[in-house]
Amino acid sequence: MKVIFSLFIFISLVFANDATIEVIKKVDTVPSIAVEDASISYDDTFRLRFFKTLIADLNVISIFNVDRHHRVSNFNDVNVLVKNKDMAYVLRYKMFEDDNGALNVQVKLINKGEDVFVKNYRVAKQDIFMFVSHAIAYDINEFMGKPSVAWMKRKVIFARIVAPKKSEIVIADYTLAYQHTILKGGFNIFPKWANKAQNAFYYTALNPKTPTLKYVDIKNGKVENIISSDGMMICSDVSNDGKTLLLTMALDGQPDIYSFDVTTRKYKRLTRYSGIDVNGQFMGKDQIVFISSRLGYPNVFTKHLDTDEIEQMVYYGKSNVSCSAHGKYIVYVARESSNAFSQNTFNLHLISTKTDVIRRLTATGVNEFPRFSKDGDAIIFIKNYKGQSAIGVIRLNYNKNYLFPLKYGRVQSMDW
């Protein structure tokens, strides 16, 4: 009996906090929250837009059972609305326009009749209201003492294909509600943030004779040529300190992975295989994870930076074409239909390098381009369905997926 018990404890400890084990939370176990709109400026259309954005953000933080009814109240009322009296929390906000035309939002979180959290927000332009909503959700999540959702405040950069050989590079919030096209015209793809501050990015320009990696400083609009390669040139990953890039180049017609020192502009070839090696991603300090066709089909492998030691990471799926790594976790895309074409589904899977457990993260459609958030809390990915793209967010610890559709075009690639 003791043996069984200690075995149980051992297994519990091994799997504690393992994101590959599915976390099933019942809706009843999270507290309820209602949102009361006490705005005194702006028309109903805008008020409703803000309300919906806030509801979406509160859902994404995954710590509340969110009531979706839009109810109007007065900001200074002591009691919550009668219909909300059974709610564990009530979030009340007041939007008003000040003399400078700026959007102001006063917020208070009410719990058991007490104002437990109070904060005011202000942005100069009404059309970037979604950043206020994300900030409110972020702050409430912090107040509740839950794991950080700092990724919510980060910007997504993506390339949108608008016609064959025509694309745009767009900067957006994580829900795509705000979109700013920063590069128009030409065929520019694979944008990648150059640093944590997100004030510069790399992209591949395919219009020059030779595919060229370029660097754009957002603050001053300067564009710089970094390196070119006949055939293909992709910046697959940027190290945490921004000093090293992982590139897929084909200097001799052979797609292989190279590391590139941003300061010295020198590159080093990391893989040598006569087939295809792409999608290099840093994994810890001394390893990369990448996609290779060395088994005759695309699959996930790791390689030590200083040795030639290469290890197969995935033993499932017929075509594992894309991956991303964070700590000991790897998320990858696997094709799951037996037929090459009909009813093709590409699903995301999560594995840990420490265990043999595979966790399937999506169930339907064509899910591509998974990328971990910087803190590993969430995965962002592209879902393509009937010619339309959406950006998806997976909250690993809460086992929830959220989709934010793109209004037009197809997302070619993205970073956040």
């Binding site: 904060k119 202000r122 970037i128 920063i182 793809i189 603050k219 609009g221 591509e368």
Partner: protein, 189 residues
């Protein structure tokens, strides 16, 4: 109550307000790459307007020569084949090899031997974009090797991959996907 301005929102504002004013500059920079070629063509045309008739006629001859050269180039390009591939493959089938052999013979003719060729590799809509770019490139590389074996100088051949971003057919059918798994020949002066 004193307003608390959230620093991240301000940062977002600064960055985005910076973006909107800088956008034309970014676009201009991108266009500058192809600007010199356009200017060279425009220069003689401007001169003919203010010059004597003799200059006009000589320029006219020049431009007609250029036009006929372009005509020849596009005429040759129209005779060049498209090379198709199987799903997730970049090997050349015997049928496609025959097409490449014919293209190589065309490349050795007097009209074409001064021209360079750009091989554009493409894929169908399946698979990740990064992998597809590599697959498209391997297809272009396979055609390049076949052309070199057929006696075309490797220095005349450049390659680019467009992955799945340059489809000729956008329906979701097997026939359509097969049309997109291809290498195109584009002639360069």
């Amino acid at each position: 109550m004193k307003s608390i301005v959230l620093s991240s929102v301000v940062t977002a504002l600064l960055v985005f307000s910076g973006c909107s004013s800088k956008e034309p500059a970014v676009d201009n920079k991108t266009e500058e790459v192809s600007a010199p070629a356009a200017q060279e063509v425009q220069a003689p045309v401007t001169e003919t307007v203010s010059s004597e008739s003799s200059v006009v006629s000589s320029t006219a001859e020049n431009s007609s020569t250029e036009n006929s050269a372009e005509m020849t180039m596009s005429a040759i390009e129209s005779k060049l084949p498209t090379i198709y591939f199987a799903f997730d493959k970049y090997n050349i089938t015997p049928e496609m090899q025959a097409r490449i052999d014919a293209a190589a013979e065309l490349g050795k003719t007097d009209a074409a031997k001064s021209l360079n060729v750009k091989l554009e590799g493409n894929c169908d809509e399946w698979g990740s974009d990064e992998y597809n770019f590599a697959l498209g490139l391997r297809r272009a590389e396979a055609v390049k090797k076949a052309l070199v074996t057929d006696g075309i100088d490797a220095s005349r051949i450049s390659m680019v991959s467009y992955g799945k971003s340059n489809p000729v057919c956008t329906e979701h059918t097997k026939a359509c996907w097969a049309k997109n798994r291809r290498v195109n020949f584009k002639l360069l002066p």
